[in-house]
């Protein structure tokens, strides 16, 4: 038996599923109140998660329990829970943000045509994410992973009546699928290499040194394919900005705090596979992350849609985590700390943006401005979130970014440099976003008002979290986070003064530059007036166009047409041929039956009838003729008998 709450950690994942089912079946019985089940389920999960973390703080170790539900030969697939410090922290993150979003959506989604359905999918998604976090088996993780993809698809396309929304949903689904296929094959490779799908066992076997490095490298690279898709890393990042077509609470929960972080979680959870692979695998991870980090941050500069700024920011921040994963165990732990803090402040930013959008009925910052007086709560909470994103002390984002920089400073100079430059860009676009949204003159229509308490409440809570959670991992405050989340051994975390100074300088530089450029509104936007540079950014590096021309159109017009032709001629031809052949044989058998068999039967009957027709005339009814035959017969018999 594990300690108190931890042995029931699986219920954290199960309760939202139950809530989803209840909402689905009885949600509409109580119109407008279908949020109750989801909020209750996720709220209970959150309380239970706190209990699990409490157990862990009390000194509990990693705890695993499972049931085998499927076994083929030596391979056992399990359904269970593996709870260590990382799991406990992730449970808190997911349930906390999910609870905030569940509450926030009561206000944001009120009056929506599919309000109940929205809560069904939201709760189902939460359950799937918790399953990914708690899984002790890679296939169990994959199940949650795919269910998340489905929920993401459903929620991006929540308002599917508009084609742009359903297109975005399809794009997100297919793009992430492209990453999911390598992920699945990575699991196969790991099964071949280690003979198990149990995550802790894989770690032990891979660490044991009996598995060929080539196999491990292949597995690590394939698993990373899943991360590229799910965590929107270059070159598959293109779906995430489009995913902003979904309702804003969905963007906050799925496309900022949880699902997109699952890719990072996967790398960290399977870190022994990555660390025991050939060194170039981690180099690939670092390069992909580095390109994404900087490239996405630049794209954030030119967006007018506030949610798209945040989307590119999310891609960039996820790339921070991915990149620093390549810097060894210390980097992995720092990445998880950033994942932890980022979930809170990015969810806060999205929900704040949602509050603004709710008030001005537009996503575009060119329709906003001057909102700080009209929406004070939204403004202050959004400002806290932005400062955290920019990396200003003492907020959460500063501490986690600092830990990542410290990890990079130990021999990863290139990573360090890219992170620092990206930090400047991040601070710049964050300042641009805040200034354009909240300062200057109001440029939109109507009179925007502060959102109701059910919307601002979660904002305040998340803002409080953004201020406080950073101290969990801050070196001066004891860095207790790193005693919970560690790979093999606890890393000692120290505050390196020069790194912190450089980090603050970079953030400050970005903020100051942003303030200088955007203090007074200019038309056109300065970032759009930089010639070729702006054009390339506005066209998103032409990637969408390249994918469309190079992959989507050829696949749709050539490959699909060819497959369709093959299907219609060859496959259908074979099927129809077999059918025609069968019919021909049947016709032959039918003919044989009708002519030969029936002919024999009818022939016998006809012969009997014909013979009978002739012989019946013997029965004439004349008694004397019968008697004559009788006597003739007797005479014949008498002659025959006497002859013998």
């Amino acid at each position: 038996m594990g300690p108190g709450f931890t042995s029931y950690a699986w219920m954290v994942a199960l309760l939202p599923l139950l809530a989803a089912a209840v909402t689905l079946f009885v949600g509409k019985r109580w119109p407008g109140k279908s949020w109750i089940y989801g909020v209750a389920g996720v709220g209970t999960s959150f309380a239970l998660s706190l209990g699990v973390l409490w157990d862990f703080v009390q000194g509990g170790g990693a705890y695993e329990s499972s049931v085998t539900w499927f076994a083929v030969g030596p391979l056992h697939l399990e359904l269970g829970q593996y709870v260590d410090g990382l799991t406990a922290v992730m449970l808190i993150v997911v349930t906390a943000v999910s609870l905030a979003v569940h509450v926030y959506s009561i206000g944001y989604m009120s009056g929506d045509v599919r309000f109940t359905w929205f809560y069904v999918v939201l709760s189902l998604f939460t359950s799937a994410m918790l399953d990914v976090v708690i899984a002790n088996d890679l296939f169990q993780l994959l199940v949650g992973w795919e269910v998340m993809g489905l929920c993401s698809y459903l929620l991006i396309g929540h308002w599917w009546e508009e084609k742009i929304n359903s297109d975005a949903a399809v794009k997100a689904f297919i793009t992430t699928r492209i990453g999911d296929v390598p992920f699945l094959f990575g699991i196969f490779v790991l099964v071949v290499a280690t003979g198990t799908t149990n995550i802790p066992e894989i770690g032990e076997v891979v660490g044991g040194g009996d598995v060929s490095r080539g196999l491990i490298s292949a597995a690590a690279l394939l698993l990373f394919g899943g991360t590229i898709g799910k965590s929107a890393q270059f070159p598959l990042h293109v779906w995430l900005p489009d995913a902003m077509q979904g309702p804003t609470p969905v963007s906050a929960l799925i496309h900022a705090a949880t699902m997109v972080a699952a890719g990072v979680y996967l790398v960290g959870r399977m870190y022994s596979v990555f660390i025991h692979a050939d060194p170039w695998v981690l180099l690939v991870v670092g390069v992909i992350g580095g390109i994404t980090m900087f490239g996405a941050a630049l794209l954030g500069l030119v967006q007018d849609d506030i949610k798209r700024v945040l989307a590119y920011s999310t891609v960039s921040q996820l790339a921070y985590m991915v990149t620093i994963m390549s810097a060894g165990p210390a980097g992995r732990d720092a990445a998880f700390f950033h994942l932890f803090t980022h979930a809170f402040f990015k969810a806060l930013l999205f929900l704040g943006a949602g509050s603004v959008i709710h008030a001005v009925h537009s996503n575009d910052m060119s329709d906003m401005g001057g909102l700080w007086r009209r929406m004070p709560v939204t403004f202050w909470t959004f400002l806290i979130g932005s400062a955290a994103l920019a990396g200003l002390p003492p907020l959460a984002g500063f501490w986690s970014k600092d830990e990542m920089l410290v990890a990079a400073s130990h021999g990863h100079q290139v990573v360090f440099a890219v992170m620092l430059v990206t930090a400047v860009v991040t601070a710049f676009y964050t300042t641009r976003m805040v200034v354009q949204t909240f300062f200057g003159e109001y440029r939109g229509h109507g009179q925007p008002r502060e959102s109701p308490a059910v919307i601002t409440g979660p904002l305040v809570v998340l803002a409080a979290a953004t201020v406080t959670v950073g101290f969990l991992g801050a070196a001066p405050a004891g860095a207790v986070f790193f005693q919970w989340v560690f790979f093999e051994e606890v890393e000692t975390v120290t505050l390196v003064p020069w790194v912190a100074t450089v980090s603050i300088l970079a953030a400050g530089l970005g903020v100051l530059a942003g303030w200088r450029v955007y203090r007074e509104r200019r038309e056109p936007d300065p970032t759009l007036a930089l010639g070729t540079f702006s054009t390339v950014l506005a066209e998103k590096y032409y990637l969408d166009r390249v994918y469309l021309r190079g992959i989507v159109f050829p696949v749709r017009d050539r490959l699909s047409a060819a497959v369709s032709w093959l299907d219609r001629t060859v496959i259908d031809g074979m099927v129809n041929g077999v059918a025609r052949l069968t019919r021909g044989i049947s016709d032959g058998v039918d003919g044989f039956d009708l002519t030969v068999i029936d002919g024999a039967v009818n022939g016998i009957a006809q012969t009997a009838g014909f013979t009978g027709g002739i012989l019946r005339y013997i029965q004439s009814g004349n008694v004397q003729r019968y008697a004559a035959f009788l006597f003739a017969g007797v005479v014949v018999m008498a002659i025959v008998i006497t002859r013998i």
């Binding site: 009814g621 004397q624 006597f631």
Partner: protein, 100 residues
Amino acid sequence: MIRLPLVLFFSAALFSTGVYGVLARRNAVLVLMSIELMLNAVNVNLVAFSQFWQHVTGQVFALFVIAVAAAEVGIGLAIVILIYRNRETISVDEVNLLKW
């Protein structure tokens, strides 16, 4: 003592007369009478052989035949009467419904 072959010739002639009557006559009563001739030809034979072999079995048999013949004639005449009532004829040629 009459000799056996003589008696046998007599009975054969009697039997042939009966056969002729059965086959050639049209009147049903005459057909029945011809059958009686044939039966009695048999009876003559039975008695003759009984005498010849000095054995009583033949005579007993003849008595049985006489009894059976009486019953047969009774039934036969009843049938003839019924046919006459229904069809107003006793010609065997015209009673030929039971055919084909």
